[in-house]
Symmetry: C2
Subunit: 145 residues, 2 copies
DNA sequence: CCTCAGTTTTGAAGGGTTCAAAATAATGGC
DNA sequence: GCCATTATTTTGAACCCTTCAAAACTGAGG
């Protein structure tokens, strides 16, 4: 067996119709160990493994993953875009208003109560996105600010 | 009576502890007639009244209004920041994913059901923000894309 | 009317992201 | 296994939105 050994990321990419490049595999790994990382954060992690990777490549990979449905892009106010691999379930996020840390939050009351506003102003609704704001454990207990 | 006549915006500014400059009055008027406008949009409207106003002044005014609680800043993903004068009530927004138009949406089920997630990952919660995505009336009936 | 602090103007820089052409590398077929 | 094809990445640059900073100005109180 001289073929590829691990391959889970490669398989994931191929099954999504994407070429399994080492940059893409590295980005997937980076996001596995760093949920909610931004492009720069992914870049930093990827570089430790593939030192010649460019930031633009990371942007390209993140875009490809997002388009293919393998990643999800979230953009909290005042923060650069973050990416996560947890897709397909409609979960939400809680953002620390002090340090920007992000946590996952499952939908509040069962299925999707927030998905049905009273009045949509004539808009056709497709999705609802909830962002909670607060303080992460560290910042809540930290000194002043 | 040779004093100011209209003055509602001026009064509003003064009561918030801000100087009533003509730029600020103009920005308030622009937001009254253009809810959810972005800085550039406000700038365009203000310029029709005060041609010498700078974009930086608009940014400054919007920042001052937001800090003073007279305006609210919203930042939908993929859009420049928008501003609105409707503050104090926790209403949400619906954004057209095609053209970016924004509508107001009152909180779905009475008070604030979305404010209580099941699990906060240890975060201390302060606010919840709901963004609905869909198509505005115009885009829903428009041709393709 | 004058003074002083708060605002705006002017000019520039910054971060995050996207664009484009050329070089490179991953597939599928031979 | 080797080639050709086409997707990806590299390289280098530009873009938009926003903020910063010093100097000129203006509103509000005395």
């Amino acid at each position: 067996m001289t073929t590829t050994r691990p391959g889970t990321e490669r398989d994931l990419l191929r099954s999504a119709g994407l070429r399994a490049t080492e940059q893409r595999v590295a980005v997937l790994r980076a996001l596995e160990s760093n949920p909610h990382a931004d492009a720069q954060g992914v870049f930093d992690v990827v570089r430790s493994e593939l030192p010649d990777t460019s930031l633009q490549a990371v942007y390209g990979v993140l875009s490809a993953l997002t388009d293919a449905g393998l990643a999800r892009r979230i953009e909290p106010a005042g923060s650069p875009a973050r990416y996560e691999l947890r897709v397909g379930d409609n979960h939400h996020h809680i953002v620390c208003s002090r340090c920007g840390a992000i946590g996952d939050v499952d939908c509040a009351v069962g299925a999707a109560p927030c998905l049905t506003p009273a009045e949509t102003s004539g808009f056709t609704l497709t999705t609802a996105e909830v962002t909670y704001w607060g303080l992460c454990p560290d910042c809540a207990t930290a000194p002043l600010g």
